[in-house]
Point group: C2
Chain length 349, copies 2
């Protein structure tokens, strides 16, 4: 009855402003080799993995800005990134990776793709729906910007769950100790979905995926450790307290949404200190459908976080407390899709 696979979050440490994509991809491949040694079948890389997190900068020069984006139709054919997918194919490892995507219409998206080694192609693409930040830079030239709303459009592909073939069967081949007797569920291929960074804080995103039966959600993130400038003068926390709170929130939403959606989640941080001053939280982790942390990063550097997971463990939640068909009451939820912002009840006299 078990459906075991071995998965990993590939945490990526500092990527400075001038870093060459080629060098960064070499780091990603090194993590992929470690994954192969550990019989990992799926590696999840962070959001916008290939460059520094450029939305923190106000970039007016279009040519400079364009360098942060991937421009081709198929990222597996991008000259800098191609070696990663070739290695993934050779090793038989599925890969999810985030990058900045420029379409032929010159639209920018914060994108993530899922590469299936058995299919040897991208089988799913996701474009970040919940873009944080602002369109306009802060007036204070020393403030750290968050300009995703300037450089990207909200994703136009929705939250589309997909099946990845070969993973559960591969477990059979690769490790006798994790053998699955049979796909007695009649659905051996896991149902998966991708989120990106800030999406993880929005329960709507998780729910749309698990309404399609998702068993694994994957996401990368670039999350600042110190964001006091975004909160105004009211914030009196020290940098250490701010980092602790940022990590707490990140972990809290991952654990709770995994539990409330009865799914595994794999999160991969771009972390460390970029350019000697932009500090990003780490905390990459693999969380169970009961909301428990199964494995987590110990560093703020390149690090592979590995766990063997049994997809059958989703069933306890999906068939009891969170059996949507028996318990959800959509007639009471209409505001969620009718109304974007807040409409308050009238003031009392």
């Amino acid at each position: 009855m078990s459906r075991k696979i071995i998965v990993a979050a590939a945490q990526v440490g500092a990527v400075h402003k001038g870093a060459e994509k080629k060098e960064t991809v070499e780091r990603l491949i090194k993590l992929l080799h470690e994954a192969a040694e550990k019989k990992v079948q799926l590696v999840v890389y962070p959001e916008a993995t290939l460059t520094t997190f450029f939305p923190r900068h106000f970039i007016e020069d279009q040519e400079e800005l364009d360098k942060y984006f991937e421009h081709g139709e198929d990222i597996t054919q991008s000259s800098d990134v191609k070696p990663l997918f070739e290695e993934a194919k050779a090793l038989g490892i599925d890969v999810s990776i985030g990058y900045a995507e420029r379409t032929p219409e010159s639209t920018g998206y914060n994108t993530s793709v899922y590469y299936s080694a058995s299919a040897d192609k991208i089988i799913s693409k996701y474009r970040k729906v919940h873009l944080p930040g602002r369109v306009e830079p802060f007036e204070d030239p020393n403030a750290t910007n968050q300009l995703e709303k300037r450089y990207f459009k909200p994703g136009d592909l929705g939250f589309k769950a997909f099946r990845a073939s070969g993973l559960v069967q591969d477990a059979l081949k690769k490790s006798a100790s994790t053998a699955n007797s049979e796909n007695t569920d009649g659905k051996g291929d896991p149902i998966m979905g991708m989120l990106i960074c800030n999406d993880r804080r929005w329960p709507e995103a998780w729910r749309v995926y698990t309404l399609q039966g998702a068993e694994i959600l994957m996401f990368g993130y670039n999350t600042g450790s110190h964001m006091s400038h975004l909160w105004g003068s009211a914030n009196t926390m020290t940098p250490e307290e701010q980092e602790k709170e940022a990590l707490f929130h990140s972990r809290l939403v991952q654990q709770a949404n995994s539990y409330m959606n009865a799914c595994f989640s794999i999160s991969a941080a771009r972390c460390g200190v970029d350019d000697g001053k932009y500090d990003l939280i780490a905390g990459s982790s693999i969380v169970s459908p009961e909301g428990q942390v199964l494995a987590e990063a110990k560093t703020k550097e390149d690090e592979l976080v590995v766990a063997e997971i049994d997809l059958a463990e989703c069933r306890k939640g999906k068939e009891k407390t969170f059996d949507y068909g028996r318990h959800r009451r959509i007639e009471a939820y209409s505001l969620i899709t009718e109304q974007t912002g807040v409409v308050e009840p009238p003031l009392l006299d």
Copy 2:
């Protein structure tokens, strides 16, 4: 700019099967007196506070079953419960309390009301939307049932946020140290909502309230510590591990949903060991809009958990990360209200 009020969760320990409502109400009044001494303005009592948690029993005798319900149109006029509301009025304390409601049409609901001391009446009623459990009892006569779906209908009042008058102003009167300079927000009366028990695990419920601007969500719960029979033979945890996990889940969803909805939450447990064998978790708590626990129960008995909260602290979340108007993308959420249960993607070949 601050809008401070003092609130409390009134945790209620064991209530055995034969307990007289009158005696239970005396315990509730004792907690109310303690609240008054501590200048509390709002007390939140548990779910189905007035009796033992009867949905754990398969009751075939209608007369016996009816005793667990309140039958009048207005619970403030119910002879057993009236003294509680009289005392609340005398002390100037708002009260939220859960009970089993029987309507004139003989329908049962798991209900909660909000009594405003300044209005001296019930100003809001909520009927539990997410009923857990089953309609039919377990075949095993030793199993603990969960028959809410048998005894109650799903709530038909939706999640309707409301304003409670007098609370913020009362803070001004009662304590110079917590004085609010002025209601500079132009909305001094807090926006509130009620959930009941299992509702807290459903992010849809929280979201519908905070789409109406809710700043405080209140809920009571009766949550079993040991539910292994519900999970089948796969569960190998000890009773202690089960209680720890049940508490972990309860706290996790409260903290995460408070954070993701930028609201305070007040949770009150019916807890302890009913009839010497039915063990319920405690853990009543008050949680901030950042998801931090501000105060929590130390016992599994009658206990008042008190915190002073500043409603202005909701604004950080509501105006930045969770500014719905700027960040939500309802075009991507349609499955949430279109589809009750799961629709999986097709199987691969």
